[in-house]
């Protein structure tokens, strides 16, 4: 008697546990869309925002169009031997209308390099009201050796932008998308400028004990 009920209980336990495993596994796959949803709700920066102009306009609801300032900025991270500058530092835009701004990118190295631009809007709560229709930040960008290219961002500032926000800053961080390439150009571009030999052997062995008194003389 006891043996039968044990077998039945064990079967139930196995079924329940297997079910939990399946649910958790599926949850792992569901994370991607759930994450996007959460970021939208919490106003966290995301890369996306692919709106067509019609969609962007449709979002706006009855508020008056007004002027806001939009500033542009870029940061190049270590290991990326590029120049990346906005062609215009600041523009006054009308909410609800599309605008085009060009960034100039130049690859200073002697080989082709792929980079990814990561956008950030300040203040962060303006993120959902800044709709990028077309942006070079949507994909990785390849530049050949010494090549210069114009990169376009086309955006609409939604008319539902809260009244207290009058100025937005769009800032791109541009990073080398290939980690081997990063290592190659990291040692070269900035580290030597720190007057200390240790940084040059950053990726090599570092001696265990030594005295730094020498270097200040």
């Amino acid at each position: 008697m006891k043996r039968e009920s044990n077998v039945k209980n064990n079967k139930r336990t196995v079924i329940v546990l297997t079910g939990i495993v399946i649910v958790m596994f599926s949850f792992g796959f569901a994370m991607s869309p759930l994450y996007t949803l959460f970021c939208d709700l919490a106003g966290i920066q995301t890369l996306g925002g692919n709106f067509t102009i019609e969609q962007a306009e449709f979002k706006d609801t009855g508020k008056q169009s007004r002027h806001v300032r939009v500033k542009f900025d870029s940061t190049i991270t270590r290991g990326l031997p590029w120049e990346f500058t906005p062609t215009i530092k600041e523009i006054k835009v009308k909410t609800g209308e599309p605008n085009n701004v060009i960034f100039l990118a130049k690859n200073l190295a002697n080989e082709s390099i792929v980079a990814q631009a990561i956008p950030n809007i300040l203040p962060w709560d303006a993120n959902t009201y800044f709709n990028k229709v077309e942006c070079f930040c949507f994909q990785k960008q390849l530049l050949e050796a010494q090549e210069s290219k114009e990169m376009l961002i086309r955006f609409v500032v939604s008319t539902s932008l809260p009244d207290k926000i009058n100025s937005l800053t769009l800032s791109y961080t541009v990073m080398n998308a290939d980690t081997d390439s990063v290592k190659k150009y990291s040692n070269k571009k900035r580290i030597e400028k720190v007057k200390n030999y240790l940084t040059d052997i950053y990726f090599k062995e570092i001696p265990l004990f030594y005295s730094l008194d020498k270097e200040t003389s």
């Binding site: 100025s167 720190v194 007057k195 052997i201």
Partner: protein, 375 residues
């Protein structure tokens, strides 16, 4: 009440008041450095408020425990009160204590919340000055976005016995007082943190993120800070120096910086013919700044890691070999491709210097056009 208890309470009260008062007198001795922005002053006030509340609670807890240790001990014949948990206090303490603690907590949190809003919500003034702060391993870069000026701020080597050891930089972050300034924070590599205690400012610099803080400095002076997030070997060597000046001096400084940047660019692209003395002088300064860390001031190197340049075969040999190694570096060693970092004049000067210093008497003079790279 026994005289012991009276005495006990007298001592406790005195301690209490003493602790309360030293908080005020200890203002800048064992405490925060002097605040120079309203934010920093608010932070200081919250700090002192919390310290006072906590000190009071600490005195209470310590007195109760010490009293108990003195009077409730077996060696003085005290018998344990096994019915203690049945008294009023015993029955209601589990409600009283949480309510009391909650009250204290809400008091602290309420005061803090107001200051928090001031700190976090960047004023939406039309004409705030924007300064971008970029953390690098292991130096700071300050970009005055509105003025088009960039400043690279690095640690200056000093003796440990120097007053400003680890607290001084070559180029300071100069800021105007009585102006609302918005700081944009980011990093070019790993996480750093921009911390200047007197401004009441600390914000992490994270690559891929831009975050904002703001400050309005009330008084002129020099304010020092440090990187506050471990970023590798030289985390300790990333000082921050802010020089706050009045608007006029600030405008002068900006103009001066712009001139320096223009002059550098001009110098590099000019087609003039340079003579040996000019090249040697320029070369020496370039060499000492960029090359001596590894190859040492007298060119003797640090064998085996860094070859000696004095008497070196490459430096005394064919010119194109020497130029090639300086321009392109050497893979898998620490020798970088200097063509990415120095302009043609600097390259020509340093190669000339190496070939004619410390007994290397090649007599070669190299002009900027000789080292012209395809960019």
């Amino acid at each position: 009440m026994s005289s012991f208890i009276k005495l006990f309470f007298k001592i406790t009260t005195t301690l209490f008041l003493f602790v309360y008062c030293i908080n005020v007198f200890a203002e800048y001795g064992l405490n925060f450095p002097e605040p120079v922005t309203d934010n920093a002053r608010d932070i200081y006030d919250i700090h002192m408020n919390t310290v006072r509340i906590i000190s009071a609670l600490l005195v209470v807890v310590f007195s109760i425990v010490i009293y108990s240790i003195i009077f409730h001990r077996k060696s003085v014949g005290y018998k344990a009160d096994q019915e203690f948990h049945k008294g009023v206090f015993g029955r209601w303490a589990w409600v009283l204590v949480p309510v009391l603690v909650l009250g204290v907590d809400l008091g602290i949190a309420g005061k803090a919340e107001r200051v928090l809003e001031n700190l976090w919500l960047i004023p939406k003034d039309e004409n705030m000055m924007d300064v971008k702060v970029i953390g690098h391993q292991w130096w700071w870069e300050y970009e005055y976005i509105d003025h088009g000026v960039t400043v690279e701020s690095r640690y200056i080597p000093k003796e440990p016995s120097d007053d400003l050891y680890l607290r001084d930089v070559d180029n300071r972050l100069v800021l105007p007082i009585n102006t609302k300034i918005r700081f944009l924070h980011t990093s070019a590599d790993v996480i750093h943190s921009f911390w200047v205690p007197q401004l009441g400012m600390k914000k992490d610099a994270i690559a891929g993120y831009i975050t904002e803080t703001w400050a309005d400095i009330n008084k002129e002076g020099i304010y020092r800070g440090q990187c506050a997030e471990i970023c590798g070997a030289w985390h300790a060597r990333m000082p921050i120096v802010i020089e706050a000046v009045n608007q006029e001096k600030f405008n002068d400084w900006v103009a001066q910086q712009k001139n320096i940047m223009l002059a550098k660019a001009e110098e590099a692209s000019s087609d003039k013919e340079w003579n040996m003395d000019e090249l040697m002088e320029k070369g020496r300064s370039v060499y000492n700044k960029h090359c001596s860390a590894c190859h040492q001031l007298e060119g003797e190197g640090l064998v085996p890691a860094f070859p000696a340049l004095k008497g070196s075969k490459i430096v005394n040999g064919p010119l194109d070999e020497h130029i090639k190694i300086v321009l392109e570096g050497k893979v898998s060693t620490g020798m970088p491709a200097w063509s990415n970092l120095l302009n043609e004049l600097e390259l020509a000067a340093v190669i000339t210097y190496e070939r004619n210093a410390w007994g290397n008497n090649t007599g070669d003079i190299i002009q900027p056009s000789d080292v012209k790279t395809s960019d």
